[in-house]
Symmetry: C2
Subunit: 232 residues, 2 copies
DNA sequence: CGGGCCCCTTGACCGCGGTCAAGCGCGGGC
DNA sequence: GCCCGCGCTTGACCGCGGTCAAGGGGCCCG
């Protein structure tokens, strides 16, 4: 792990707030795992004996039903951690995890982590903050699915991705559209249609390059009342 | 707080796993708060300085959009705790909480809790377990909204409420149908229709009394493939 | 450079569930 | 006992988004 990787590790809410030596002892001497696209890290129901830090690439967390349908509940990228909280729920992962692009991860052993918590209470607070962060993200996802239309959910996603709150922005879709669609709770076809409907609001798409004329206008659209496009 | 209340407190995942004196010091000498239906405990964005244990009655957690629509993200009953994790997320509640029936709660101070965590690491592990439990519940809720039909969501709710996994069961709807509908991500009218569609599967409803001929059959229906009622 | 593959888009169709409105039944008040 | 109100149900309608299918454009490989 080089200095750049270490910087990423220390940028996470979980490992950034604890002391240098605690972070070092947890991930410092762990090997970096390199996976290629399509690799399954773990499946729901398996014993949860580790959590992960993403150094590069993307990982999706999802649930599968008995008949094979899947619901993506999160996509994690560089500088994010996942499955930290799973290790405290009867030792089972409640979701499955798959690498969706070639990726570099650090795997942190759970047994070791639990021990550290017992003598490093500050680590416990960091873990709780991290769990709270994931909790908030899930609550917002539920809110969005329940009361935003497909175009509004797409707009919300774009606004969140924009580096600015107003004016123009050019952004790149972080992962392929089929995955993005699932993440937003819709089918790829609906994502296409949703992007088409955002065109009159100053959104143009070419491959994975998206340019937005006015981010504030998009944000307004997300908050516009009842799931419809109220005239324009 | 009498012995019965204390038993409820000790039945929660959060306060049941820690030592007697830690639990006692957190909630033992707290007064019991009695609220009547409609009272707002806190609103999203407020400083999160406490979490709650439900001794009786029901409390809903929900998010409101700028235009006034609301999405219920959870309903908590006797023996459950909520908002534990919020106190670690920048000190803000990500949701609002309202008492939906007359209720008896214990309010646990957050400042005190954080102090205890620093010198009682076992408490930290309990809190993480509790947070994980809520996390799993949210993930399942997302899964259900995304890939179950309205009748399936209602069936799943009934199965979960049943004391048995097979055979007959008679259960009572825990809260009024408008709230239940929102909790399940639908409108009251859709809940009515969904219950009507479950009638051929052995579900009969009279007021809030629900009787189920065969719980296993209902469970089967929930897992039956593609959101439809596959003939029969 | 041509062909095939894959991903994305666009169209046609339709079923689920939201909306609006009417009807019904239980319960409280005068 | 009568009336009114409220919560629930039922019906009619329709728009959103899923499904199925065809078309188009980039990219790799032969």
């Amino acid at each position: 792990m080089d200095a750049s990787d270490w910087r990423i590790v220390r940028s996470t809410p979980l490992l950034g707030a604890v002391s240098q030596d605690v972070a070092q002892s947890l991930v410092g001497n762990q090997p970096i795992s390199v996976y290629q696209k399509g690799h399954t890290l773990f499946q729901q129901g398996e014993a949860a004996d580790a959590f992960f830090v993403v150094l590069g690439g993307w990982v999706k967390l999802y649930r599968v039903t008995p008949d094979g349908n899947e619901a993506v509940v999160g996509v994690y990228r560089r500088g994010e951690t996942f499955a930290e909280a799973a290790m405290f729920l009867g030792g089972r992962y409640p979701v499955s995890a798959e690498v969706v692009t070639d990726a570099r991860l650090v795997r942190v052993d759970g047994q070791r982590l639990r021990q550290r918590i017992l003598d490093q209470p500050e680590l416990a607070l960091s873990m709780l903050a991290s769990a709270s962060y994931h909790l908030k993200a899930l609550v917002e996802q539920i809110e969005h699915i329940k009361l935003l239309s497909a175009p509004q959910r797409v707009a919300e996603f774009l606004v969140r991705l924009s580096p600015v709150r107003e004016g123009g922005a050019a952004i790149e879709l972080p992962y392929e559209k089929a995955l993005l669609a699932n993440r937003l709770g819709m089918k790829p076809e609906s994502l296409s249609r949703a992007l088409a409907k955002l065109r009159p609001l100053g959104v143009s798409v070419d491959r994975e390059q998206v340019s937005i004329v006015d981010v504030a206008l998009l944000a307004k659209f997300v908050e516009s009342s009842d799931r419809g496009e109220e005239g324009f």
